[in-house]
Assembly symmetry: C2
Homo-oligomer: 317 residues x 2
């Protein structure tokens, strides 16, 4: 008999969205809620851009560009060409179709509608059954200290191509932020089956979720097993600056070091089969499986492995 119940996933952008899609396809419609990082959000040309929410939306709606993992498939770029003619900034590329999201969101936010409701409206329009929940409706903004000083996240990540060594991270606004009530409700749901920390960057995708006051406590109090999936395979990230950031900030770029960051929260940990040797050294129940998600089948299989592991942990609790 298949287990029932709801699942909460914590996710950043591309890698997290892949597993979120796998989970959504393994669960009943509406059984999954994804808590999204908003630390990457920023204002560009007056438009409110929420990169991680957008990647989750496009991925779960089946609209994502399959090659790059972000943005829309079949995108056109007339806006950027015309913007260049007008002398506008070219460092952050906004696709023509993608602009509809930013313009609509910015317009709704300006009308006083909170980000969570705007996101719910978008999900309803695109018939996404999964709930995508920004961790908070308050502004939390990741800032990066480099040898050139403090930079806004997108300035560091896109503007400088993540090439400047990270000396320190900060999450502006986090201390004053309130978790979205729907997030706390999802974590306290009586039918909660598992919480999955997706294979996202622990420092800049998951941490800005966890630093919102009350989030760590809500996860610690959660009765369902909390499982993280390592974003590293053999010490390397599939995509993005995770490995370099971990070492730049004085840690190790290993699956074990990531588990250590989540230590007080975890009931289980999933690492890649390439890291199987690390299993014994972990201080938490763990399994090794293939975590690289290339195909849709990869995503569904990893989701199934994670859910089965969670169910085993839940049954033995």
């Amino acid at each position: 008999m298949a287990a029932t119940g709801t699942v909460v996933a914590l996710s950043g952008g591309i890698g997290g969205a892949k597993l979120a899609l796998g989970l959504a396809r393994r669960l009943a419609p509406g059984a999954l809620a994804v808590v999204a990082n908003v630390g990457d959000d920023f204002s560009h040309l007056g438009l409110h851009v929420s990169p991680d929410i957008d990647t989750l939306v496009y991925t779960l709606a089946g609209l994502a560009d399959p090659q790059q993992g972000w943005g829309r498939a079949g995108e056109t770029w007339s806006f950027m060409s015309a913007l260049a003619e007008l002398g506008g900034p070219s460092w952050f590329r906004l696709g023509d179709g993608d602009l509809a999201m930013h313009v609509m969101r910015t317009h709704r936010l300006a009308q006083g509608v909170p980000l969570s409701q705007v996101t719910a409206e978008v999900c309803a329009s695109l018939r996404i059954a999964t709930r995508i929940l920004p961790v908070t409706d308050d502004p939390v903004r990741t800032r990066v200290r480099t040898d050139q000083g403090w930079l806004d996240f997108q300035d560091w990540f896109v503007g400088h191509r993540a090439a400047l060594t990270v000396r320190e991270l900060a999450f502006a606004g986090a201390a004053e932020a309130t978790p979205l009530p729907a997030v706390l409700a999802a974590l306290a749901a009586p039918d909660l089956r598992a919480v999955v920390i997706c294979p996202s960057n622990p420092l800049i995708s998951i941490e800005p979720i966890l630093v919102v006051p009350g989030m760590r406590a809500a996860l610690a109090a959660c009765k369902a097993p909390v499982i993280a999936v390592s974003p590293l395979i053999g010490g390397r990230a599939v995509k993005g600056p995770t490995a370099a950031m971990l070492t730049d900030l004085g840690g190790a770029a290993t699956a074990a070091a990531v588990a250590e960051r989540y230590r007080d929260l975890l009931d289980g940990y999933v690492i890649d089969e390439a890291d199987r040797a690390a299993l014994d050294a972990l201080h938490v129940p763990a399994i090794a499986t293939r975590t690289l998600m290339i195909t849709l089948a990869d995503r569904e299989r990893l989701a199934a492995d994670v859910l089965a592991f969670a169910d085993r942990l839940g049954a033995s609790a």
Copy 2:
């Protein structure tokens, strides 16, 4: 010997922009200033759209769609498709490349930059030598009273396809508006050769320019000849609702009736050769020529005719 000096044109969108382009090509670079109507401006999805300024910009930059006369040639429409998926409004169509203009303008206005400066920046980026001057940096908004009540101009014009009978027009904000100093300076320039009222809709393109306090006086005080070009040919407008509006508001859809509206301002009037029979009935010096502008050569020839007529009037003054 060709006459020198500067020329000021008053213009709405499509028809006016055609003659403005003809004038620009007949004059030395920078000798033309176009005073643009801002009564059609509106906010759509939080974006500030200035339809007449945009049509002038695209026309003078050689970017305009040659078929429809507004918007950009070779435009793509991914934004509108994605907007429809998101449940956004479809009644006003924004092209992907055109969006760069609206996003940049909205962003600059939000930074406190006046519309005239934003427009000057756009012209500089697109290497438009002609100065495009909004008649005022203050908001003036054309409103249309119909049997369904008062409507914003674009709601009437685009939303209702100009199909509702016009009972009354109003120009919200006009009484409190101040003419752009550069407009008054252009009209008072010692080397001013002519003022040309373009063949734009007298009621909704030229009137919202004239109602800005001080504009009629500046035109009346202007030493150079003021010439209007009739927007009607045989009682019909080339494009748009001019003829129907004139009769809806109790006037006649004739070249003579348009001249009557400008009576206190005009030193000369240019009508189409099809209306030659009306020449004798006009109370102002007038010529008849071909005013239909299909080709670029048509625009240049009409511009040349208008300038030659102005020079004759100026010499005899």
